[in-house]
């Protein structure tokens, strides 16, 4: 009898030795003359347990982790192939509380399937959304996306359906679907997991977007720091083409859609949509002024839908289960789920997909289990390097776009970076300015020059040179950046800076918070 064993191929598993574990299992199986089939699945997203090895048993998949190469022989001794007891035995994977408490819609297949197998994908509801889309008129598909309430997951949370509608209505010889897979934010990895762990879902979402808007060409712009994602995507695209889900005549429907993966070159600002388009066109990634909107004049001057990976990857389930199904998750104007990403100084870091409306405290403690260092958590940066530091007083707010905006914070792409009480917030604020100075595209002065000045001013504050005046200057500078920048790079760098000084003034050597600006 052949036993199926799953060993993830996600980068986060590879980075702790998953390939060695897989090779060792293979070698032990041969030595012990047992029949094992190893599937390289995506990751379940429980990264503190990687390498998480699963074994298929009649009762379900049994998990072991974190497994290192040195553990493998002992696992065989403990009959792990039939789910045997062992110190690393975590029980049935589906019963692990961290997973069980989640609402995995977009990530429903994550870690379950062989990422590049079309058959495995279809056996788990894959391409059901595309098949449904092929029975609808383009305007009906767009209406489903509108009705679902899906908002862009890349940061700005703009309703996806409205972009799609604009592109559908535009008349042009060529339209494009562009996927923003630049995922530059520290603390985020849901795009990477999608591309490495369930890339066909992105392929499906983009094909649906193409059919809905009349776009026949798609590009996925992937950051160069993600070589595994690029390789897996290319493999998945090849398989989708062979199976007729991409190409000149998708499943005999007469619809045409082709996909190309493009490798970025390490500029954070190229995640900004117009800079991304410049980069795709072969130029320096400098932000374009809007209007014109990309939906009307985007890639190569043609109407273009540009959406984040998770936005596009959320579309298949909306089509297969209906807009209402999706919309019934969430709260207020934040509909559906978000794959939150718990990162930094956290004991149980990983991916937590939940409906909008849960709190940071639940994520940090119920899921995350507190800090990795065991020290008190001091500050949590939500929404990437341009997001605010959220102090404990705000950890009971619901994670909802509007509730966060109301306190000057952002949910963004759902990245959550935890710092313990050893963090010096003045240094993190300085880093935010420094990052902006390194990554600014240079088009506008407040961002290009202001960020460098920001570093200097913070240095003066921390070394107590004219501290009170320098604090006023820093607030002034932030105000100018907020209001005088063309894009959110310069426009939002003040978020981490001001939240740090407002909520942790003692780290800047100031006693009472003085909050007369921003």
């Amino acid at each position: 009898m052949t036993t199926t064993v799953y060993v993830p191929r996600d980068s986060a598993a590879l980075a702790v030795g998953a390939d060695r574990v897989a090779r060792q299992i293979e070698a032990e199986a041969i030595a012990r003359k047992v029949d094992v089939r190893i599937v390289r699945n995506g990751s379940r997203g429980l990264f503190w347990l990687e390498t998480l090895v699963e074994v298929a048993t009649p009762e379900g998949r049994v998990a072991y982790g974190p497994v290192t190469r040195a553990d493998v022989a002992g696992l065989f001794d403990a009959s792990f192939l039939s789910g045997g007891a062992h110190a690393l035995n975590l029980g049935l994977t589906d019963e692990i509380p961290y997973l069980k408490k989640q609402e995995r819609l977009t990530f429903m297949r994550m870690g379950m399937t062989d990422p590049v197998s079309v058959a495995d994908y279809e056996a788990h509801e894959g391409f059901a959304g595309l098949r449904r889309a092929l029975t609808l008129a383009p305007a009906e598909i767009v209406q489903q996306v509108l009705d679902s309430g899906l908002r862009g997951r890349g940061g700005a949370a703009f309703p996806a359906g409205i972009k799609w509608k604009t592109v559908l209505a535009a008349q042009a010889p060529q339209k494009y679907i562009v996927c923003n897979a630049d995922e530059g934010d520290s603390g985020t990895f849901s795009d990477r997991m999608t591309m490495e762990g369930d890339p066909l879902m992105l392929v499906e979402g983009m094909a649906i977007a193409g059919i809905a808007t009349g776009a026949t060409e798609g590009y996925i712009y992937v950051r160069s720091e993600y070589p595994h994602a690029i390789a897996t995507l290319n493999e998945a695209i090849r398989h989708a083409e062979q199976a007729g889900f991409l190409g000149d005549d998708i499943l005999g429907s007469g619809h045409r859609f082709r996909l190309t993966v493009r490798k970025a070159a390490g500029a954070y600002v190229c995640g900004e949509e117009t800079a991304l388009l410049e980069s795709l066109e072969g130029r320096r990634g400098i932000v374009r002024a809007k209007p014109p909107l990309p939906a009307l004049q985007g890639l190569f001057g043609q109407p273009t839908v540009i959406n984040n990976v998770i936005t596009l990857a959320s579309v298949p389930i909306i089509l297969s289960r209906g807009a209402d199904f999706y919309k019934n998750y969430g709260m207020g104007r934040s509909r559906g789920t978000l794959p939150f990403q718990l990162a930094g100084n956290i004991r149980q870091g990983g991916l937590v997909e939940k409906a909008f409306g849960l709190t940071l405290r639940e994520l940090l403690y119920d899921f995350g289990g507190g800090s990795a260092s065991g020290r008190p958590i001091k500050a949590v940066q939500v929404g990437g390097p341009l997001g605010a530091y959220v102090p404990e007083a705000q950890w009971d707010l619901p994670l909802d776009y509007e509730a966060y905006a109301a306190v000057g914070a952002v949910v963004g792409h759902g990245g959550i970076v935890v710092h313990d009480d050893t963090a010096d917030m003045s240094q993190l604020a300085r880093y935010a300015m420094e990052f902006c100075a390194i990554e600014s595209c240079g088009k506008c002065t407040p961002c290009r020059i202001g960020s460098t000045r920001g570093v200097e001013v913070i240095d003066k504050i921390t070394s107590n040179q004219n501290r009170p005046q320098q604090v006023i200057l820093l607030r002034d500078l932030c105000d100018t950046m907020l209001h005088g920048s063309l894009c959110a790079m310069g426009g939002m760098t003040p978020y981490p800076v001001l939240s740090a000084i407002n909520h942790y003034p003692e780290d800047f050597g100031i006693e009472a918070p003085d909050r007369f600006a921003a």
Binding site: F47, G184, G187, G344
Partner: protein
């Protein structure tokens, strides 16, 4: 073939690709390990661009290098999630251990050290990459082992 011929033929193969300059530069860097400044005029000619335009693109993107890297390119993540787990100290350790500064190459040409802003391993921080191979939960001792193993393999 010399560098110039290689770069010219890679560029020529991309002139019909929409927005083909970046893919061409990636191809050149993959083949030569860097984009030497003396191939820029030939690339520009293939794309019907000015040298300044091509140079502008090469220098704009952090990924493209105009000087060769050491045999091992060591990237240490310096972004927030890794900072929360000691990335700053790890970078200091890396400088000493590799004998090179940030953006520098060691005297023996063995190592180049680059900071990188996130490898997507933020739940397993701090993270590094050595010639595109990723490693997570790095301690100084582990860093030394990984570098030594990569050095022997290269």
């Amino acid at each position: 073939m010399n560098n110039l011929d290689i770069a010219t033929s890679i560029a020529a193969a991309h002139t019909n690709v929409p927005g083909g300059l970046l893919p061409a530069l990636h191809g050149i860097q993959d083949a030569l390990g860097h984009v030497p400044s003396d191939v820029v005029p030939a690339v520009a000619e293939q794309f019907n661009l000015s040298r300044a335009e091509v140079h502008g693109v090469v220098s704009y993107y952090h990924h493209f290098r105009s000087t060769p890297a050491g045999r091992l390119l060591v990237q240490v993540c310096s972004a927030e999630a890794c900072k929360a787990m000691g990335a700053d100290a790890l970078l200091e350790h890396a400088k000493k251990h590799l004998g090179c500064d940030v953006h520098g190459t060691s005297a023996d040409g063995q190592y180049s050290l680059e900071p990188v802003f996130c490898l997507g391993l933020c739940a397993s921080s701090p993270a590094i990459a050595v010639n595109d191979e990723v490693h997570a939960r790095i301690t100084p001792a582990l860093f030394d082992d990984i570098v030594e193993e990569a050095r022997q393999a290269s």
